[in-house]
């Protein structure tokens, strides 16, 4: 008898599980991101890069513009880990200082294009009709101009400098974000949960920000992580033709293009800034993939 009772009690306790703890959405995302090893690897690299950028003054062994003409074109050695360039400047120091500029350009330019492009695309997709036509035709005009040419003309008009480079690169990639966001908004707009939100009286702003944007994040995140790479390279291109970051400020892209002319005899000048760009992009892609999965509750185990 008492046995049966305890048994019953046990089964009861088993079936009445407590409610899952309520966590803030960001904590939930963090928890599932933490499980993703490659995403964490990417995040650690990004954090190291940001740390380098912030503390460049302390960790760089030399100043970024300290010339030592006696020590030009040195291959990597114990004094200059990454070697020296054509003015005898320490490449390691320049790469470390360069992370400041390159990360800024990458993130801010992508931020500009993601927010404006995303907002325009969401409005175009959600409202459709005339609004859609006006916005998307304007995007087509931007798309018709080659990206680098557009960036060149904007910088030429605004004048060279870090800030203008970011604006120019950002504007150039607005259309691709607008198109991606519009496409995913179109696929979500007609779903029943949007109608359900309308039925309870939600306004357009709430529907777009609460229902449509969260459900169309995946392609935007992927595009943005790839976009950072593209932005760094575009900025490099602008620097190369003298419209971007002005020497002697170190910037990875600009270093790469200077190194190009010595590539045959001195491989290390172009290699290290190139590796820096590559590692940044690689880390961002890993992190982006992980973020995309972590933001999707359906993929949680």
């Amino acid at each position: 008898m008492s046995n049966a009772k305890t048994l019953q009690k046990q089964t009861l306790e088993k079936t009445s599980q407590p409610a899952k703890k309520k966590r803030s959405p960001w904590v939930t995302v963090w928890m599932s991101l933490k499980k993703n090893k490659s995403a964490m690897f990417g995040l650690i690299i990004i954090l190291i890069l940001i740390f380098c950028a912030l503390t460049a003054d302390f960790i760089a062994p030399y100043g970024f513009d300290d010339q030592d003409l006696m020590a030009r074109f040195q291959t990597p050695n114990s004094k200059h880990w990454f070697g020296t360039d054509n003015f005898g400047r320490d490449i390691l120091s320049r790469v470390i200082y360069g992370s400041r500029i390159s990360l800024q350009v990458g993130f801010i330019a992508v931020g500009i294009s993601m927010f404006t492009g995303g907002a325009l695309g969401a409005i175009a997709g959600y409202y459709g009709g005339k609004m859609d036509n006006v916005i998307m035709r304007f995007m087509d005009i931007l798309l018709a101009i080659p990206g680098i040419l557009l960036a060149i003309s904007i910088v030429a008009a605004l004048g060279p400098g870090l800030q203008n480079v970011m604006i120019a690169v950002g504007i150039g990639s607005i259309p691709s974000y607008a198109r991606i966001v519009r496409a995913s908004v179109l696929s979500i707009r007609d779903q029943e949960f949007i109608e359900a939100a309308k039925a309870v009286g939600a306004n357009d702003f709430r529907i777009i920000t609460k229902h449509i944007i969260p459900n169309s994040m995946a392609p935007i995140i992927v595009q943005a992580t790839l976009g950072v790479a593209g932005a760094i390279l575009s900025a490099a291109g602008l620097s190369f033709i003298g419209l971007g970051i002005q020497p002697p400020t170190p910037e990875w892209g600009a270093m790469l293009s200077t190194g190009r002319q010595f590539l045959r005899d001195h491989w290390h000048i172009a290699t290290f800034p190139g590796l820096a760009i590559m590692i940044t992009i690689f880390a961002l892609n890993l992190l982006g993939d992980g973020l995309r999965d972590a933001l999707d509750p359906r993929l949680k185990s």
């Binding site: 009445s16 599980q17 407590p18 409610a19 899952k20 703890k21 309520k22 966590r23 779903q191 029943e192 949960f193 109608e195 359900a196 939100a197 309308k198 039925a199 309870v200 009286g201 939600a202 306004n203 709430r206 609460k210 229902h211 969260p214 459900n215 933001l295 999707d296 509750p297 359906r298 949680k300």
Partner: protein
């Protein structure tokens, strides 16, 4: 006579398409009394879901009047419309598409409360959400689960809880069980019947499943190609259908007995296109009793007494089909 909660007069909804005007809903008249369930049946594409959405102003009507509690809601401005939304709600067909996959159960159920700023404190709101979950039979431990973790029946319960959150008087049920397993269909239908008794709800129950409609409805409206062809109470609809289309429709219900043989009315041809439909009776091309007048003159919905309405020129002359 009972109090009418909702009355729809000459409601039209036309969509402009490349091929011409699509008359999805074309002059529909019906009324629903307080506390009853009106079943709206018809085949796919006849405009029944569109009717449900137009009644809630999820789609704007092309023409007509929708009288809810004595006022024409089509004249409402934005503010009044927001108030109206608290009174009229909808449960959707597909419980997989009607819940935002990125929101938890509690967020979904709380959304109507948040949007309409019903509660100022979060604690009160959580209390109400839990209360609603209990009302529709959802375990409290699911409160922070996501929709994809649940089965169709539970998801539909979430949809019902969301519709109930603002304490509406009227709910449009847009094929709420057609996406569910038969065993779960019964649970959901019973739940909705219980809720109707408990809260005095009025339903517009849209379905293409005659057995489901038969189970839940007090009165039934049969739709064909954007028009209501017959509207009557539940028993007279099934025992004495007057419109030829209703007769054909009812003869298609299978009877699970082998000793009964009945005349099965087979409709010839297909449903005509609702794009730019011709004058005359919509059913003309497929009707067994058609005559010349049917081709030229559109029959109006006529009162046959006893709350029975039929749109046919020859309602009195057709011999009632045996069902």
């Amino acid at each position: 006579m009972q109090e009418r909660l909702l009355e729809v007069r000459n409601l039209k909804k036309h969509f402009s398409t490349k091929k011409g005007m699509l008359h999805a809903v074309d002059g529909v008249n019906f009324f629903i009394n307080k506390g009853e369930t009106l079943g709206l049946v018809g085949e796919s594409g006849c405009g029944k879901s569109t009717t449900g959405r137009v009644v809630l102003r999820l789609l704007e009507a092309t023409e007509g009047e929708i009288i809810f509690e004595g006022k024409d809601i089509l004249q409402y401005n934005k503010q009044q419309q927001r108030e109206m939304r608290k009174e009229m709600q909808i449960v959707f067909q597909d419980p997989f598409a009607s819940l935002n996959p990125r929101m938890t159960i509690s967020e979904i159920i709380a959304e109507p409360l948040v949007v309409n700023k019903v509660f100022s404190s979060k604690v009160d709101m959580q209390k109400r959400v839990k209360e609603l979950m209990e009302t529709v039979g959802l375990a409290e431990r699911l409160i922070n689960a996501y929709p994809h973790e649940l089965d169709g029946g539970r998801r539909q319960r979430i949809g019902i809880a969301r519709a109930l959150a603002l304490k509406p008087k009227f709910i449009v049920q847009d094929e709420p069980v057609s996406a569910l397993d038969v065993s779960i269909q019964a649970q959901i239908l019973n739940l909705m019947a219980d809720l109707q008794d408990e809260f005095g709800l009025t339903y517009l129950f849209i379905s293409h499943d005659l057995s489901v409609v038969k189970h839940v409805s007090d009165r039934i409206a049969v739709m064909y190609l954007g028009k209501i062809v017959e509207l009557s109470d539940y028993s007279s609809m099934f025992n004495n259908p007057l419109h030829p289309y209703t007769q054909a429709l009812l003869s298609a219900i299978p009877i699970p007995r082998i000793d009964i043989k009945r005349e099965r009315i087979i409709l010839e041809g297909d449903v005509p296109s609702p794009i730019n439909p011709p004058e005359g009776c919509r059913f003309y091309g497929r009707c067994r009793y058609r005559q010349d007048i049917c081709k030229n003159k559109t029959p109006e919905l006529k009162d046959m007494g006893n709350d029975k309405y039929v749109a046919c020129h020859f309602t009195n002359n057709l011999k009632p089909a045996t069902v």
